[in-house]
C-alpha cells in the first residue's frame, strides 16, 4: 500500500513535469535556460581570469 503510494506519487510528479516540458515550448525554454546561463557565467569568469581581472566580491559581500 505505502509502496504503491510512493511509486504513484513519484510517477505522477515526474509525468506532470515531463508533460509540461513536452507540451509547452515556454516551459521547455525556461527549464533549459539555466544550462545556457551557466555557460555564460563560466565564459565570463574565465574571460576575466584571462584578462587578469578575476571577478571581485561585491561591496555587500565583504566580511
Amino acid at each position: 500500500m505505502i509502496s504503491a503510494v510512493i511509486v504513484i506519487s513519484f510517477l505522477v510528479l515526474a509525468a506532470a513535469f515531463a508533460l509540461a516540458y513536452l507540451l509547452w515550448p515556454g516551459v521547455r525554454a525556461r527549464v533549459e535556460r539555466p544550462k545556457y546561463l551557466f555557460q555564460q557565467q563560466l565564459a565570463l569568469y574565465e574571460e576575466q581570469c584571462r584578462n587578469g581581472q578575476q571577478p571581485a566580491r561585491e561591496p555587500g559581500d565583504e566580511d
Binding site: 510512493i6 510528479l13 527549464v31 539555466p34 555564460q40 563560466l42 565564459a43 569568469y45 584571462r50 559581500d61
Partner: protein, 886 residues
C-alpha cells in the same frame, strides 16, 4: 607542466577581493589529499591484516579501530574537504555572488579539520567511538560535525537565494539539496541509534548508511560532474530537463532506500519492501542521469584529453555500475546470497573510491587549474588517473567475485572456515590492488603540487552560447509557474524525506516495540556490570564489523545459526550491534557455545585454537598469557557468553505465550525453528551421533586435521598444539589413547561438554569418517593384556573407587556421572583404551580441569596397576559398541 601565473592575480589586494576564495580552495584541496593518504594507509593496514592477521602486532591500533578511522577518513576527511574545495570554486560562479564570509570559511576549515577529523581519528584510535557504520566518530564529534554542516549551509546557501529558483543550474540544486538534506539526516544516523535500541535503532542506522552516500556524497559528486563536464567541453549539458528529473528522483527516492541494508532481518517486511522498490526505481533514475551525462560529453572522446574531464567521465561510468549494482543487490533473493559478503565491500569501494573519489578529483583538479599562481604536473595527473582506474577496477572485480564465492559457500553446508580459506586469494589480490591505488593518490598529490617550469598555456575553451537567446522566451507567466513548481517539488522532496523517516524509521520502531511487548518474556535479563563493560569493548574494537548479531529469516541462516532473531532480543542494545558484514560467524547465539577458557585463548592467540582464523589477536587484554587475563578479557568473554542467553532461557517452554500471541509469519518461523542454536560447534549430550561409514580414508582427513585440530592436539596428535598449554583439561594425547570409531564419531559430532573440544557437525560425514581414521592412526596404545591374576584386585578397587562415576561396566555412565562438580562425562572404558603409562599417570595425578581426582595417595602401587589392567580389559566389552568398530 601547466600553470596559471598571471602576476596581476598574485597581489594580496586582488586576492582579498576575489569572488572565488582561492585560499580556501587550496586549503581544502590540500587537506583533502592529506586526509586521503592517511585514510588509505588505514585501509591498507586493515586489508593486510586479512592476509597477515598478526601484521603490525602490538605496534598498531586494533583492526576495528583502524577500520573506523579508514571509513570516516574517506568520507569526512577526503571527500568532505574535496567537496568544500570545489564549493568554494563553484558556488560563486554558479550564483554570481561570493560565499557568505571568508572568515567563516576559515572557521569552517579549522572546525572540519581540527575539531572533526583530528579529534575524531584520535578518539576512535583511542577506543572512543560508536559501532555504527559510517557513523563511527563518537557523539561529541558528531555534534561538531552538525555545527560544521550548519556553518556550511550559512556559507554556501545564501548566494543561491539571490536569483530565482527557475534560473538555478542543476549543480546548484544538488549543492543546496546536499547541504539541506545532510543536515537533516546526519543526526538521524549518528545520534538516534544511541537512544533507540536493537533492530529499530538499526532501521535509523540503515537510513543514514544510505543517506550518507545518497544525500551527502552523491549529490555533491553529481554537482561536480554537472559542473566540470560543460565547463571543460565548452558546451552546455545535453538536457537540463533530464538533469532536473534525475535530481528530483534522487532526492525523492534515496531516503527510502535505507532499509535495504537490513533485508531479511526482523525489521518489518513493509519497510523492507518499500526500500527494495525505491532501490529499483532509483536504478531507473540513475540510468536517466548517466545517459544525460554521457550525452553531455559527446565529442570529448572515450578518454578525454582534459584531465579533470577524464576523471569526471570515469566517475560517470563508475556511477552507472555502482548504482545498478545497488538496485540488483536490493533484490531479496540476490541479497540473501551477497549480503554480508565482500560483494558489499566491493560495492562500497566502487561508490566511495570509484564514483565519488573520481568526481572529487575532477572537482579539485578543475578548481586547482583555475587558481591564480598555481602550477600542476599534468603528466603526473594522467598517470594518477590510469593507476587509479586499474587499481580500483581490480579491487572491485576481485571483491565482487569473492563475495559471490563466499555467498555460495554460506548458502550450502560448508564449514564457515571454508569461506575464509576460499577468500584468501581474493584478499591477497585486494591488498595488491592497493599498490596502484596508493601510487595513484601519491601522484595525484604531487601532480597538483608540481613545480611550474613553463608559462601558462591555460584555459582556452570555446564556449557555446547557442541557446542563450532562449532566456527571454517563455511568456511572462512561465517563470513564476516554474518557480512555483520547483518550490512545490522542493517541499515535496523534504516531505519525502520526512516520509522516509516515518516509513522506514518511526513505523518500524513502533511495530518492533509492539512485537517486543507481545513476544518478549516478562522482565528483561539485564547485563551485569562486567558484561556491560565487555559490550563497550566489543563496540570499540569493531567486533560488529566482522560478526553480525542477527540471524536472518533465510533458509541458510536458519540451518547454520538456528532460530532467526526476534525483535525483543535486541531490546537492550544501545546502540544496536546487528552488523552488516560477516567475516566471522554470527554471534547472536554465541553464549553457551564455547567454554570461557576457549574464548580467552581465542582472544589471546586466535590461530592457536583455530589455525585458519584471521581474527585479530588481543594480547593487550592479557598479562602475557591466556591464563592471566586482565579485566578487559574477562569482561569481553562475559559479554560474549551473554549473547543469546535470554532467548535460550526462554526457549522453548518460556516462548509458548509468545508463540500463541502472534500470527506473524516470520515470528512463527523463528518460534518453529528446529533448534534455537544451530552452531555446529555447540556441544550436545553424548549418544546421538551420526553413524559413519567405515573406514574413512586418512587422505581426506589429513586436511581437516591440519585445519581444525592441530591448534590443540598438535601436528602428530600428541596434545601439544600451540593452545594446549593454556587449556584445562589439556587436549588429549591421541598417541596414548585408542578409540572405537563409534566413540570418536560421538565425540566429533557432539563435542565434549565442559572442555574446549567443540562439536564438528559442520564437517561432512565423509570428512568426519576420514578424521576418525586420522585420529585412530595416531594411537600407539599397546594391545597386550595385563596379568590375569591382577584383574580381581583391579575389579575390586574399581568397584570401590571408580564405578560410581565410570559405571559398573566401565561405560562412563555411573550414578554420579551427571552430577559431577565439573560436568565432563567420565571416560567410557568400553570404547576408549589408554596406554598403561598414560593410565597410571592419570590415576596417580588426576586430570586438571575435570572431576578426575588423583589417587596416588589413596591406592597402593599394586592396586593402581591392577585397576589399569582391569579398565583396559573392558575395552570392546560393550555389547553394542557401534558401527564399524575395530
Amino acid at each position: 607542466m601547466q600553470s596559471n601565473s598571471d602576476p596581476s592575480l598574485q597581489s594580496s589586494t586582488a586576492a582579498d577581493q576575489q569572488l572565488v576564495e582561492g585560499l580556501l580552495v587550496r586549503a581544502h584541496s590540500l587537506a583533502a589529499l592529506i586526509t586521503l593518504l592517511i585514510a588509505v594507509v588505514f585501509g591498507i593496514l586493515v586489508s593486510l591484516q586479512f592476509v597477515l592477521p598478526d601484521f603490525g602486532g602490538d605496534s598498531l591500533p586494533s583492526w576495528g579501530r583502524m577500520r573506523y578511522a579508514h571509513t570516516q577518513g574517506i568520507m569526512l576527511g577526503w571527500l568532505g574537504n574535496a567537496f568544500l574545495a570545489f564549493l568554494y570554486h563553484a558556488v560563486p560562479i554558479l550564483s554570481g555572488r561570493a560565499v557568505t564570509s571568508r572568515n567563516l570559511g576559515l572557521s569552517l576549515f579549522a572546525l572540519w579539520n581540527f575539531a572533526v577529523m583530528l579529534p575524531g581519528w584520535a578518539l576512535v584510535l583511542a577506543g572512543v567511538s560508536q559501532p555504527l557504520e559510517w557513523a563511527e566518530f563518537p557523539l561529541v564529534v558528531d555534534v561538531v560535525v552538525i555545527v560544521a554542516f550548519v556553518l556550511a549551509a550559512i556559507q554556501f546557501l545564501p548566494p543561491f537565494f539571490s536569483r530565482g529558483f527557475e534560473n538555478l543550474y542543476v549543480s546548484s540544486w544538488y549543492i543546496i539539496g546536499a547541504l539541506v538534506f545532510t543536515l537533516m539526516s546526519y543526526p538521524m544516523g549518528n545520534i538516534v541509534p544511541e537512544f533507540v535500541p536493537g533492530a529499530a535503532g538499526a532501521a535509523f542506522s540503515g537510513l543514514w548508511i544510505h543517506d550518507a552516500v545518497g544525500l551527502f556524497v552523491t549529490p555533491l559528486a553529481l554537482a561536480i560532474l554537472y559542473y566540470v563536464i560543460p565547463a571543460t567541453t565548452g558546451r552546455p549539458i545535453y538536457s537540463h530537463f533530464l538533469s532536473m528529473l534525475g535530481f528530483w528522483g534522487l532526492f525523492f527516492l534515496y531516503p527510502l532506500n535505507g532499509i535495504h541494508h537490513y533485508i531479511n532481518s526482523v525489521i518489518p517486511m513493509g519497510a523492507q519492501l518499500t526500500a527494495i522498490l525505491a532501490s529499483f526505481l532509483l536504478g531507473v533514475i540513475v540510468v536517466i542521469v548517466v545517459t544525460n551525462l554521457m550525452l553531455s560529453q559527446r565529442g570529448a572522446g572515450l578518454i578525454p584529453r582534459d584531465i579533470a574531464l577524464r576523471f569526471a567521465s570515469m566517475s560517470v561510468v563508475f556511477y552507472l555500475i555502482v548504482s545498478l549494482q545497488g538496485s540488483v543487490q536490493a533484490d531479496m533473493s540476490f541479497n540473501s546470497l551477497t549480503h554480508f559478503t565482500d560483494w558489499v565491500i566491493g560495492h562500497s569501494h566502487l561508490a566511495m573510491l570509484g564514483f565519488a573519489t573520481f568526481a572529487g578529483i575532477a572537482g579539485i583538479v578543475h578548481a586547482w587549474q583555475r587558481l591564480p599562481a598555481v602550477s600542476y604536473n599534468e603528466l603526473a595527473l594522467h598517470w594518477a588517473y590510469w593507476l587509479l582506474v586499474v587499481g580500483i577496477s581490480l579491487m572491485v572485480v576481485d571483491l565482487t567475485v569473492a563475495g559471490i564465492a563466499q555467498g555460495q559457500l554460506w548458502q550450502g553446508d560448508a564449514p564457515w572456515l571454508e569461506s575464509v580459506r576460499a577468500s584468501q586469494a581474493y584478499w591477497i589480490v585486494r591488498s595488491l590492488s592497493a599498490i596502484p591505488i596508493t601510487l595513484g593518490f601519491v601522484l595525484l598529490f604531487f601532480g597538483l603540487l608540481g613545480n611550474s617550469k613553463e608559462a601558462a598555456t591555460s584555459l582556452k575553451i570555446e564556449r557555446s552560447t547557442a541557446g542563450v537567446e532562449l532566456a527571454g522566451v517563455g511568456g511572462s507567466g512561465v517563470a513564476p509557474a516554474l518557480r512555483m513548481s520547483y518550490l512545490v517539488a522542493s517541499l515535496a522532496g523534504i516531505g519525502f524525506f520526512v516520509l522516509s523517516v516515518a516509513l522506514l524509521g518511526v513505523i518500524p520502531l513502533r511495530a518492533l516495540q509492539q512485537q517486543t511487548a507481545s513476544l518478549a518474556p516478562a522482565g528483561p535479563l539485564l547485563l551485569t556490570p562486567s558484561e556491560l563493560r565487555g559490550r563497550d569493548i566489543y563496540a570499540r574494537e569493531g567486533c560488529a564489523y566482522c560478526h553480525t548479531q542477527q540471524v536472518r529469516y533465510t533458509e541458510a541462516d536458519l540451518a547454520r545459526f538456528g532460530a532467526p532473531s526476534l525483535a525483543w532480543e535486541g531490546r537492550l542494545d544501545y546502540p544496536h550491534m546487528l552488523g552488516t558484514r560477516r567475516i566471522g560467524p554470527d554471534l547472536a547465539r554465541a553464549g553457551n557455545t564455547r567454554p570461557a577458557q576457549w574464548h580467552l585463548v581465542h582472544l589471546f592467540a586466535p590461530r592457536s585454537v583455530v589455525p585458519l582464523s584471521i581474527m585479530p589477536a588481543y594480547p593487550q587484554f592479557f598479562s602475557g598469557a591466556p591464563d592471566r587475563p586482565r579485566r578487559e578479557a574477562l569482561d569481553l568473554v562475559a559479554y560474549i557468553e551473554s549473547l543469546g542467553r535470554e532467548r535460550e532461557l526462554a526457549w522453548p517452554d518460556g516462548e509458548v505465550a509468545g508463540r500463541a500471541a502472534t500470527d506473524d509469519e516470520r515470528a512463527l518461523m523463528s518460534f518453529n525453528a528446529p533448534e534455537l542454536n544451530a552452531h555446529p560447534a555447540r556441544t550436545r549430550p553424548r549418544g546421538n551421533a551420526l553413524v559413519l561409514e567405515s573406514p574413512g580414508s586418512t587422505v581426506g582427513g589429513v586436511d581437516s586435521w591440519q585445519s581444525n585440530c592441530t591448534g590443540c592436539h598438535g601436528e602428530q596428535g600428541r596434545g601439544d598444539g600451540p593452545a594446549a598449554a593454556w587449556l584445562q583439561p589439556s587436549p588429549v594425547d591421541l598417541s596414548q589413547h585408542q578409540y572405537q570409531s563409534s566413540l570418536l564419531a560421538d565425540i566429533l559430532w557432539n563435542g565434549v561438554h565442559g572442555t574446549s573440544m567443540p562439536a564438528w557437525r559442520e564437517l561432512s560425514p565423509a570428512e568426519l569418517s576420514s578424521l576418525v581414521s586420522v585420529v585412530q592412526s595416531f594411537s600407539e596404545v599397546e594391545t597386550t593384556a595385563g596379568s590375569p591374576q591382577s584383574l580381581p584386585l583391579g575389579a575390586e578397587a574399581y568397584a570401590s573407587h571408580c564405578a560410581e562415576c565410570h559405571g559398573d561396566n566401565g561405560d562412563g555412565n555411573g550414578f554420579a556421572a551427571d552430577s559431577l562438580p565439573i560436568p565432563i562425562w567420565p571416560t567410557d572404558f568400553t570404547r576408549e583404551r589408554l596406554s598403561v603409562a598414560e593410565s597410571l599417570r592419570i590415576l596417580q595425578n588426576g586430570v586438571e580441569g575435570t572431576s578426575m581426582a588423583p589417587w596416588g595417595d589413596r591406592l597402593s602401587e599394586s592396586e593402581m596397576v591392577a585397576v589399569v589392567h582391569y579398565v583396559r580389559s573392558l575395552y570392546g566389552s560393550a555389547l553394542n559398541s557401534g558401527v564399524a568398530d575395530d
